[in-house]
């Protein structure tokens, strides 16, 4: 990252991802309303345009070329020369895929998908072409403008150019010095510069920061200069100045106004922009604006509003170190709080006041810092309308996507990890859950099925529901399949709910035909594993004929955990509150034994296994002691329950989760460690692993 160019590139990649997303969002809007407003199309055009400019700066040729074609098409739509048909929309959507591929090619050296690029590109060109015959006068100029450089080069040798350079009056405010660009031309050949000062106003009205000069630069070179090379010099300011390039090397002077040649033509401006008309165009800024100056103003207002609500990019490491530091502060604070006990230390009344204030501020600070890591779940949800649209098309189903609670905030790491499981679930809904149009009509439902993505907070957890109003899970088929695949025995008696949960079993798939969408049988168990890896749970509820709901329950953040402190002898452990159902006091007679081993006890009508922590973790204490105390914490993971014998329950508090792997290694049955108020280390119990372990015995 030390190379400054690399840094700029990184910013460009970030921005291009944003630009592509913005285009997609806008296109989807157009799709919904089936008509378009000029604001949206302007937005799309701007995104494509900045993508082109950026890619050209970094010499990413393929990307520049492709966006150029796309931009040309968009520009025609913008100028109302082409109406935004379904064909064009579909083609623009596919262009986005090509763009993503190209960006990742330059960013990660991925393979370019040549065939699709060429296909989409020729489609774009095909869509551009018919307009040439329909709107004759505009197209005549337009088609002349595009290949203009070719005949120009053949007619002249390109060794002598005249460039009219009329910068926007405000160009200095953007940090661009016109002089530098003129100087840069000397790299191409010898230059002769004359300056036209007629545009300079009277001294009294002169604004010293504005430029009113128009330069005429003649470039002479022994070698022929490509017009593109000249344009490249001005690439950075192509929107902030007017140019005319005239080849004087031979006879017929061919001229093109560079940034959006096709847009120029219909706007009624002659291709050769003479200096005389330029003072007026200067006032209205860049070329495309001449056609629609009043449209640009609200657009800019909107853009600046967006920018105001936008964010800065911060390295995640910086935030993490802040969170670590804060964890320290919380520990120090709770260490000090011992001295805030007024009964014990009545002489320190002021101190205890200060300490309680400190506690409040620390808590607020902690909340604030944790929120930095939070992103609206929209980051994850927003890709689904597009995905479902494509899938629905492929499967010839009619599907709407409903998103509820997209502003619900979730930890960034959680969002990243959540992506794959959600994609899988949504695909399943579309592929298996929702019926075809005919089936839906036959079942007396509306033709269009709905996939709903919903997110909301619930007591320190985030709940995500993925539901469809499709056929629901077919209990009989799942049962058959499970028996076939050996997941359950043929004679097992299971209620509907237990059968539905079989879809999470490894190696289970009910799709009759394996499609490329889903149905390889590696799906749901992986989804479940991923969710569990995030400390969450997933379950399914389904009603035949009405639909299926998948509910994912996740902790808000992975960095801080709501924990119950408990003692086993002298050692302190922590169980995540999320997995605790209740704590109960048992008599030792309630515990069933097999030989000397404690095996189970009856809880809410069922026998559930019991686990002696002193034995599991081999604590230095009399193991029987725990049974005498009879204090049991009932925990749940994966809908499996288990009782854990402990000596004592102490505090309930938020703890900062630290990894054991950083300096040590993974330990079975533990998910991490934390630092307590007294500065000592306590271990956090991985309930899921413990339950799996007890089931294996």
């Amino acid at each position: 990252m030390s190379d400054p160019l690399e840094r700029f590139k990184a910013v460009f990649f970030d921005e291009s991802a944003e630009a592509i997303d913005a285009i997609e969002r806008n296109l989807l809007n157009v799709d919904d309303a089936s008509d378009m407003d000029s604001e949206t199309i302007n937005d799309i055009f701007r995104s494509a345009h900045s993508l082109k400019g950026g890619s050209a700066t970094f010499g990413m040729g393929s990307l520049t070329e492709f966006t150029h074609v796309m931009e040309t098409l968009l520009d025609k739509v913008r100028a109302n020369e082409l109406s935004l048909t379904q064909d064009i929309l579909d083609c623009l959507f596919s262009s986005l895929d090509v763009l993503r591929n190209l960006v990742s090619h330059y960013q990660f050296e991925d393979e370019i998908n040549e065939s699709s690029m060429i296909e989409v590109r020729s489609e774009l060109e095909r869509l551009l072409d018919p307009s040439a015959s329909s709107s004759a006068p505009a197209a005549a100029v337009a088609s002349a403008a595009v290949p203009a450089s070719a005949p120009a080069e053949s007619a002249t040798d390109g060794t002598h150019w005249r460039i009219e350079f009329a910068p926007d009056p405000q160009i200095m405010m953007t940090g661009n010095d016109p002089l530098r660009y003129i100087e840069e031309l000397t790299d191409l050949g010898e230059i002769e510069v004359s300056c036209k000062t007629s545009g300079v106003p009277q001294f009294g009205t002169l604004e010293p920061t504005n430029i009113h000069l128009i330069w005429t630069v003649e470039v002479k070179s022994k070698e022929p200069i490509d017009e593109e090379a000249l344009k490249d010099v001005f690439l950075w300011i192509e929107d902030e100045a007017e140019f005319t390039f005239t080849n004087l090397g031979g006879a017929a002077p061919a001229a093109v106004t560079p940034p959006a040649p096709v847009a120029e033509a219909p706007s009624g401006q002659t291709p050769v922009a003479t200096p005389e008309v330029q003072p007026q165009t200067q006032a209205t800024a860049s070329p495309p604006a001449t056609a629609q100056p009043e449209k640009k103003a609200p657009a800019q207002a909107q853009a600046s509003k967006k920018r105001a609500s936008q964010s800065i990019r911060v390295d995640l490491e910086k935030i993490d170190s802040l969170i670590n530091l804060l964890g320290e502060l919380v520990i120090t604070q709770s260490m000090l709080s011992i001295y805030g006990d007024e009964e014990k230390y009545p002489q320190f009344e002021r101190l205890s006041e200060g300490l309680s204030q400190l506690e409040r501020h620390t808590r607020d600070l902690q909340e604030g810092v944790m929120r930095i890591r939070m992103l609206p779940i929209d980051f994850c949800f927003s890709r689904f309308p597009r995905m479902v649209r494509d899938l629905a098309k492929q499967l010839d189903k009619s599907i709407a996507v409903e998103i509820i609670g997209e502003n619900t905030e979730v930890d960034k790491t959680v969002i990243e990890e959540l992506n794959d499981p959600l994609v899988h679930l949504v695909r399943n809904c579309v592929d298996h859950g929702l019926e075809t149009r005919d089936e839906r009509i036959a079942a007396g439902k509306s033709e269009t099925g709905t996939v709903t993505l919903k997110a909301f907070h619930q007591v320190g957890n985030i709940i995500i529901e993925i539901s469809d109003d499709g056929a629901g899970l077919n209990t009989e088929r799942i049962r058959k399949k499970a028996i076939e695949n050996g997941v359950i025995k043929a004679n097992s008696q299971l209620n509907d709910q237990s059968i539905h949960e079989l879809i999470f079993a490894p190696g289970f798939s009910t799709a009759d035909a394996v499609t490329d969408l889903s149905g390889r049988g590696v799906g749901m168990d992986v989804v479940k594993r991923n969710i569990r890896g995030l400390g969450g749970t997933i379950d399914v509820r389904s009603t035949e004929g009405e639909g299926t709901v998948f509910t994912i329950r996740l902790p808000l953040t992975l960095a801080i955990l709501d924990g119950q402190l408990l003692k086993v002898g002298t050692e302190t452990y922590i169980i995540p509150m999320l997995s605790i159902i209740e704590s109960i006091q048992l008599k030792s007679a309630d515990i069933n034994k097999v030989g000397r081993r404690d095996v189970s006890f009856k809880w809410r009508g069922n026998f559930i296994p019991i686990l002696n922590l002193a034995e599991v973790f081999d604590c230095p204490m009399e193991q029987d002691q725990l049974i005498e105390s009879g204090l049991v914490v009932v925990v749940e993971s994966d809908n499996k329950h288990c009782g854990i014998l402990v000596s004592e329950l102490t505090n309930h508090q938020q703890v900062v989760v630290k990894s054991l792997e950083a300096n040590y290694d993974k330990v079975e049955g533990l998910s991490g460690a934390t630092i307590l108020g007294d500065g000592s280390v306590a271990l956090i119990i991985d309930v899921g692993a413990l339950i799996t372990r007890v089931r294996m015995h």
Partner: protein, 167 residues
């Protein structure tokens, strides 16, 4: 140079990657069951008095437990147990050296418990040698060499192999 080449131990010394030829290096020495041992001083992050640690379930016997090092969770290793010596009660002289350890998978921070800290020993090719001749009763893979510190012998330890915990 001629003098060194005549030294029969010179060939062996070249094999010691922990000791640069001719270049002086500094080692922090400490007591362990009456003998002097030392570790590369550049690997020592800090020296702490012993404090109670949190036992880790299923850990090897020589891993004493975890301590809180300004917010990081750091395991500490009882060096007596690691080197197969008798254990001793921790007392006011007991010291924990927090070490930087380099593994293939990356660096870790691990503490070692020693009886008492002694001094800094400077070594160069003239006063240190590899130790094939005598049996030190500890695993040879842990030993980088022997240094002569005036009248007594100091055993130089290889931190990275010593703390490559077999978990």
């Amino acid at each position: 140079m001629a003098e060194i080449q005549n030294n029969p131990a010179s060939q062996a010394i070249e094999d010691i990657d922990e000791l640069d030829e001719n270049v002086k290096s500094e080692w922090l020495s400490f007591k362990l069951a009456g003998l002097d041992y030392a570790v590369d001083i550049l690997r020592v992050q800090e020296i702490r008095v012993w404090q109670a640690s949190t036992r880790i379930p299923y850990s090897p016997s020589y891993v004493n437990g975890l301590i809180n090092l300004r917010g990081s969770i750091v395991p500490i290793v009882d060096l007596r147990t690691r080197l197969g010596m008798d254990t001793k009660e921790y007392d006011s002289e007991t010291v924990v050296l927090i070490m930087d350890v380099e593994f293939e998978e990356g660096g870790k921070t691990i503490g070692i418990i020693v009886d008492a800290i002694s001094e800094v020993v400077q070594t160069d090719v003239n006063n240190s040698q590899l130790s094939p001749e005598f049996d030190l009763s500890i695993d040879k893979n842990f030993v980088a060499g022997i240094a002569d510190d005036g009248d007594k012998m100091v055993i130089l330890l290889k931190v990275d192999t010593l703390l490559d915990l077999d978990i």
